[in-house]
Amino acid sequence: MRYLKHCNPVDLTTEFLASKDWDIIEINLTIDPIQLFEYYHKLKTELADFCFSFDSKDYLRPEIYERFQKEGKVGNYIGNVSAWSVSWPVNRDIPCPSRFQADPNVYPEIKDISQMDFAETAHPQPRYVFGILEKLLNRLSERALRQMLVSNHPAGLQVANHVDSDLKKLHIPLYTNSNAVFTFGENDERVYQMEVGKIYIINPIVPHGTFNGGDTERTHLLSRIDLDYIPEVVGMQGIVE
């Protein structure tokens, strides 16, 4: 079994969690789906000006922008994504792209910063801390919600099969459809669908990708979770509401 559900935290040893022997952990704690939708709706309306995409010329490193305009893809992203960088080292009143795509001339705070320093200094910007996100921070703490980003995949977007760093990622769907899937395995042979109201931890060192095969967008809150904090989160029960 590579999709873990209702697991006993005791079984989740550091050795196992650091291995390639699992794809996804679904945790017991759930979230009120209505409040997730309300959060998503506010992002799309009141905070729309803080959303970046590969069309955000003024904020991206020039070569990233030019590559997307020319090829229609950047790295593993085949198509345009948009996102809100919730966590950032300083509070910004402009959209913040992901760390390695942001133009350091616009964001001097990320110049020459190490991954460790970025992870430790990036905190939720105040404008995003309201509603269900504020409740999630209170319940899970930043140990499970580091480097938060709300990522929006339009219909048809594919993220090609790849591996990421070993930092474990937490996914919380805000808005999705039944044809938006995660695939795991070298040949994308294991297909999983994530539901609004649930919290998932993915193992990014296992080859994986995504495909939004639906007609509507797929929007997830993503974060990094400390490896040694995973058993405690897995042991949580109840609903965040």
């Binding site: 390639k20 790295g75 110049k111 991954q115 790849h162 080859p207």
Partner: protein, 192 residues
Amino acid sequence: MDWKIKELNLEFSLQELKNYFDYLERSWIHLRWDADRNDVNDSSKHQIEGVYGWGIQSNLKDLTQPCPPYHVHKEGTQDYRDTALMFGFAESIKEAFPYSRQHSIAVHPPGTVINLHTDTAKWIKIHVPIQGNDNSYFTFEDEKFILEPGKAYLVNTTLMHGTNNLGTTNRAHFFFKIPADMVDDVLTVKKI
């Protein structure tokens, strides 16, 4: 080309390079290639015990598998593609030298010796030291060169050359290849 090593006029942030390397050391072990694994074609009697590194571009079919920083893998082809490691400093290098390929990092522990050899005449290597020591150097039969972190160097790999790390600390280099006929162009790149 009768020169052995040329220092580039390239300005870059050594700290950014060190950060990139530290990140790979810390969080990208699953893409790290280790020479001690038995998956290489090597009959050259180099002393490479403990050598490791990352192929930032890979010539393997599966980009999610560790790729050696040298063209030694049994499955290797001449088709190099970006891996997930092509970001940050590595991506800046690729943008500054768009004709470059085989971006890699290799770490040579103390005692590593790459014997004198020549590589293809079609490609020249650029080395960007991350860390080294006074007893780690390139050899060219009758001459040795100590490469310093913070600088970038063209290395004429078409001549007989090798490396020694006779020091007590690891030697780590970021390096990549450029077409041999692009040497003059490389020397005009001032900054990344």
